[in-house]
């Protein structure tokens, strides 16, 4: 895949990102083939500190499902676990990720842990590592963990173990220079993605929610530097984009690992424009940078503790609600569509708390139940259309 020319149109550049998302296996294999000894690792969660993998010369890619039936996973994982983790496991069991050299998981939810463990059990020769990511991510009044916080110090020891495990497997050290380069590459990419999202604050966002999430998701499937170059080109052309239609009702999309662009395009065809997402494939993955420190692993640990938490890790104090309200305000969302993965406990908890909190502030919301293997758009179309009409009427 070549870097776009700077005079390429925005829609062409967006098409490149879509190509990566839709052809992610081809991209990864192509990347591997371009250099001797290149390695690609799959990661199961945005809590995996990719920077460490990247500094080791490894391409970390997000493991994703394919939205096809995933019966192949049934003997290995309960059928009332969320569709996402079953779908991911099915991809591994069916050989679609045979090019991976390793898989890494950080503690997030039990269901994904089950998928990871089944994956490892079925591919015993694959490198694998599990990071026990703390869940109680307390911050001080400066929004940072205390450097003597034992949760932080434990996480740092986990990162040290992970790095050492990688070095042993790779047969070479991960140097401070390589960590600095990785940290820089990721910080640059995150900043560029935030700039992209800033476009969506405007009355005419110039980029749809589906397109923006495709760009964000592509960053989890591509070499970071390559993605940043393409994204820089896109940012240069976006303001002059002419083929973006009239925006609809401004909504925020919330969810976990939302990667179903047919779903998002459907929502946006029903009178809505998704102006911001609160999703692990989207904004939650790039809203926070690593602040450089002499102790690089400590700096990485701090970032992963202070980042916007997923619902699974939002304690001891809830940081998510204030962040959600800020996003709604900054992006002037008129309503919220929460895409609830069926059987996803962290998000079921989240919906039970967020929906009443939104209602208390007079912010309309719609909870849409989703199963990647049963994509029944008919009822969804009706509900989203009604929601958008309701918002339209309310704001007239």
């Amino acid at each position: 895949m070549t870097v776009a020319r700077s005079d390429a149109k925005a829609s062409d550049l967006l098409g490149r990102f879509r190509e990566v998302v839709e052809g992610r296996h081809a991209y990864a294999k192509d990347w591997k083939a371009k250099g001797t000894g290149r390695k690609v690792f799959g990661r199961f969660c945005t809590y995996v500190p990719e920077e460490i993998l990247y500094s080791a010369g490894i391409l970390p890619i997000r493991i994703m499902g394919s939205h096809e039936p995933f019966d192949i996973a049934d003997p290995y994982i309960s059928s009332w676990f969320c569709g996402f983790c079953r779908d991911c496991l099915a991809q591994g069991l069916s050989g679609r990720y045979d090019y991976l050299d390793g898989v890494v998981k950080a503690r997030s939810c039990s269901q994904l842990r089950g998928a990871y463990a089944a994956w490892v059990a079925s591919t015993p020769n694959l490198y694998h590592h599990y990071i026990s990511m703390p869940s109680a991510l307390g911050l001080n009044s400066n929004g940072l963990p205390d450097t003597e916080d034992h949760q932080l110090l434990f996480l740092k020891t986990e990162l040290i173990r992970f790095k050492e495990s990688l070095e042993k497997w790779m047969g070479h050290s991960v140097t401070e220079d390589s960590l600095d380069r990785a940290i820089d590459a990721y910080n640059v990419n995150r900043r560029l993605l935030r700039q992209l999202y800033d476009f969506r604050k405007a009355d005419e966002p110039k980029i749809s929610g589906a397109e923006a999430l495709e760009v964000a998701l592509a960053s989890k499937l591509m070499d970071k530097v390559e993605h940043s170059e393409l994204l820089t080109d896109l940012l240069a052309t976006l303001s002059s984009r002419e083929d973006f239609g009239k925006p609809g009702i401004r909504v925020m999309m919330m969810g976990a690992e939302v990667d179903d662009f047919e779903l998002l395009r459907l929502i946006e065809s029903m009178g809505c424009t998704i102006v911001i997402d609160e999703d692990c494939n989207g904004s939650r993955s790039f809203w926070d940078d690593i602040d450089p420190l002499p102790d690089r692993l400590l700096a990485i640990a701090i970032r992963y503790m202070k980042r916007i938490p997923c619902p699974q890790k939002d304690y001891p104090t809830s940081r998510r609600l204030p962040h959600i309200f800020r996003l709604i305000e900054d992006f002037r969302a008129q309503g919220v569509i929460l895409i609830q993965q069926k059987f996803c406990d962290p998000w079921e908890h989240e919906a039970a708390d967020v929906v009443p909190a939104l209602a208390k502030r007079g912010i309309p919301s719609l909870v849409v139940e989703y199963d990647p293997s049963v994509r029944n758009w008919g009822p969804l179309r009706t509900r989203v259309e009604a929601f958008s009409e309701m918002l339209d009427t309310a704001f007239m």
Binding site: S78, S110, A118, Y130, S135, A136, F154, Q312, H349
Partner: protein, 438 residues
């Protein structure tokens, strides 16, 4: 009717188990009615924390949930309240029952749900943390959650014991601030010592499952299990389990069986359906099946360790391992050691192809097979089940499965479960001894 193979008689220790259980519930009701402080926790929280504040009663949400499940009307009311609150039907059944009862203003022991003064949660699965927070927010009280770190068996992690010890120190400090009093160090130390002895003895007691005939069955284990689950930090628990051990040993010596027609020995894998335990008694009577101890509970409230051959045997207390137990710091370190080594917490929640604990239990206890409960009420404990099932099948161990919900009675289809049991028994070549109506 076939002639019984073995002699049997009821377990005498059950009476004392009932008394100790009643004391636990009684303390909660008394505290509620007097307006005394109550600590709410889920079941994984180290019980010596409550010992450290001896004037306080405590509610274990998990235990309350189990009992709510036994009462049709209360279970329905709790789940309806949970529905109204917006808690999805497939969410953690433990939370729906306990928190649902709180929402409905109901309590298993009667009257209103007791208002706690603070909430604690040691999180193993992600639901315990958020569930505890919901309780705290509902009652408007402070809460603290901390993590039991997990990693695949054998991978190792950063200093788990030190991390746990740091967290436990933080918990005690938090409790002091929230309750406005200091830790009773002597009671804390005694509580840890008692917990360690109880865990060791509970492993030894569940290990009686290895004898043929089995002197005690799953249902009696579940009745006695209230002790290590709820009151393991008390001296009365240590004394009780010593009596149980002695009684079980005498039953082994005299070949007194839990099931007089023992013909098939099975392990139940997973939490049983609390409101429908009669199904197991029926299968014993009808087929001569004896249900052995549930390995998940044996390893979650009992200490086990590998011996030189890699087999699992009842473990040693921290003091037997050389850790001193004199003061608060020692107590925290000993607790950290115990929970870091707790096999149930690791193996039930982290499926690992390198860990064969369940298979070892099947072999050690001479089980003829295992029945897996695909429990809709607890996804956390489903995580390891598919891999465990596969391992047993690979080892040629007959495996059955049934679906229900341990906590929501509406999701139990007794006929279907009975059919699943009957099919499995008959596949093992076991015919009915009695017809159900005889």
């Amino acid at each position: 009717m076939a002639t019984a193979r073995y002699r049997t008689k009821p377990l005498e220790s059950l009476g004392r188990a009932r008394e100790l259980t009643k004391e636990y519930w009684g303390s909660i009701l008394k505290a509620r009615d007097e307006g005394s402080p109550i600590i709410w926790s889920e079941v994984s929280t180290p019980l010596p924390f409550f010992a450290a504040f001896p004037d306080h009663a405590y509610i274990l949400g998990t235990v309350h949930s189990n009992n709510v499940a036994r009462n049709d009307e209360l279970c329905a009311a709790a789940n309806e309240a949970a529905d109204t609150r917006g808690l999805a039907r497939d969410m953690c059944g433990l939370m729906r029952n306990d928190f649902g009862a709180a929402l409905a203003g109901r309590f298993y022991g009667g009257g209103d749900y007791p208002k706690p003064s603070l909430v604690l949660a040691q999180t193993v699965c992600e639901w315990t943390g958020r569930s505890a927070r919901k309780v705290a927010e509902f009652f408007g009280v402070p809460s603290l959650e901390w993590m039991l770190p997990l990693a695949p068996y054998g991978q190792g992690m950063g200093d788990k014991e030190k991390f746990l010890a740091n967290q436990y120190s933080e918990v005690l400090s938090f409790m002091e601030r929230a309750l406005g009093r200091e830790v009773d160090e002597e009671c804390l130390v005694e509580g840890v010592r008692n917990l360690a002895l109880v865990w060791k003895m509970w492993a030894e007691i569940t290990d009686f499952s290895k004898f043929v005939p089995a002197p005690v069955d799953m249902l009696d284990f579940l009745r006695m299990q209230a002790i290590p689950l709820m009151v393991a930090h008390k001296k009365s628990s240590v004394d009780f389990l010593r009596e149980v051990k002695a009684e079980l040993q005498s039953r082994v010596d005299e070949r007194i069986a839990a099931e007089p027609n023992e013909r098939l020995r099975l392990l139940h894998v997973g939490i049983p359906p609390w409101g429908f335990l009669q199904l197991f008694r029926d299968s014993q009577r009808n087929y001569g099946v004896v249900w052995l101890a549930i390995w998940g509970y044996a390893s979650s409230f009992g200490s086990w360790m590998p011996d030189a051959n890699g087999d699992l045997v009842p473990g040693r207390t921290p003091e037997e391992q050389g850790l001193p137990l004199r003061n608060r710091d020692d107590a925290v370190r000993a607790l950290a050691r115990m929970f870091a080594e707790l096999r149930g917490a690791i193996t039930l929640n982290f499926p690992d192809p390198n860990c064969d604990d369940l298979l070892k239990a099947v072999k050690r206890w001479k089980a003829n097979g295992a029945m897996f409960h695909d429990n809709h009420g607890c996804r956390g404990l489903q995580v390891a089940m598919p891999l465990d099932r596969w391992k047993l099948e690979q080892a040629g161990i007959p495996v059955g499965r049934y679906e229900s919900n341990s906590y929501d009675r509406k999701e139990m289809d007794e006929g279907e479960v009975n059919d699943a049991f009957d099919r499995f028994f008959e596949m093992q070549g076991i015919k009915q001894i009695t017809k159900p109506d005889q």
